[in-house]
Symmetry: C2
Subunit: 201 residues, 2 copies
């Protein structure tokens, strides 16, 4: 049976790094932004537009130009676009899971693959630790105050949560939906990855 | 620096087994009911009475005979008894942590030892899995229906939650209060223990 690992993560918690390292140590494929690239290819929607749908509350992110080309109220068109994107996302994630062992980050993969019983990880951290991690990543954050970085983190997580709940009817970050919830505030992501790799290999 | 591991757990989730095995593998002391025995020795209250305080909502568990021996309203006496027990509990847990590496199960140890930064684990599972575990432990549960076992589990966890929140002002089971939350529904406690032991040793 294939090894399927899904990672959901708070922004700035190091979930992406953990996923990337874990895939490397397990010799598994790693999918994160690749999912958006693939949706874009199949739907012919731009990557930015797809990312916009994922970042914003469903019903809000439709472009006026699309709405005008149909004779429907804008919100209905928007909803259809979102569902179409989600269907593409579902199909792509299922194909990825068919192909080989893999680590999938975000994009409701834990829910989409639920019948295959993936190992579902949620990565989180306290706010100070997330701000520090965002700062250490540097690019683009140098001129921001802690308050501004905090605001960005909160906004991004709010969007992730809304997107997840809209498509899964489950609460994002609620521990019952995961097999392991890992707090990276006080522990090194490299160490945590080694622990997970030895358990999962 | 000493290895201090605290385990909070939902009833029937296998947290006690995990703690016991982990202590064994780490060569650390294991404290669970030993804490109540020790409080009983120092306060001269019976173990049953102390357990009663921990199992019931503060303010409700006082024995009438105690209340009568003071000229105070019952609820105030009860509160004083509870705080006295908690003070003894705090002192004992701190002494245990001073003595050697240890795994402490329940009794707000994660909060009491917070300045020493213990590794804080929360163990949980879905309801079906907890009912099955309670059944497999057998003794006393044979004649109960699933519904009755479920009711018992819910009542015990409600009490643990209330006791924890009353003394810590934190939410029991809220993942931000732990370093790792482990769902035992689909994974073997022995395997999970090995993973934790290799990370913590």
């Amino acid at each position: 049976m294939k090894k399927l690992i899904t990672i959901s993560r708070e922004f700035g918690s190091g979930g992406r790094e953990l996923g990337c390292r874990l895939a490397d140590q397990l010799g598994a494929a790693y999918y994160d932004r690749e999912i958006i690239t693939e949706i874009s290819k199949r739907t012919r929607l731009s990557q930015e537009y797809i990312q916009g749908i994922m970042d914003n509350r469903p019903h809000i992110s439709f472009p006026i130009t699309v709405a005008r080309s149909f004779s429907m109220p804008g919100s209905e068109v928007s909803l259809q676009m979102e569902l179409q994107v989600f269907q593409a996302q579902k199909k792509i994630i299922e194909e990825m899971a068919d192909r080989s062992d893999c680590v999938l980050v975000g994009r409701c993969a834990d829910y989409i693959l639920r019948d295959r019983e993936p190992f579902r990880i949620f990565v989180y951290a306290d706010m100070d630790s997330k701000i520090a991690r965002c700062r250490s990543r540097a690019s683009g954050n140098e001129h921001l105050s802690d308050r501004e970085i905090r605001h960005n983190i909160e906004q991004i997580d709010k969007s992730r949560s809304k997107y997840y709940t809209f498509h899964t009817e489950q609460k994002w970050g609620e521990k019952t939906n995961y097999d392991l919830c890992v707090n990276t505030s006080r522990f090194d992501v490299k160490q945590l990855t080694r622990m997970l790799a030895s358990f999962l290999s």
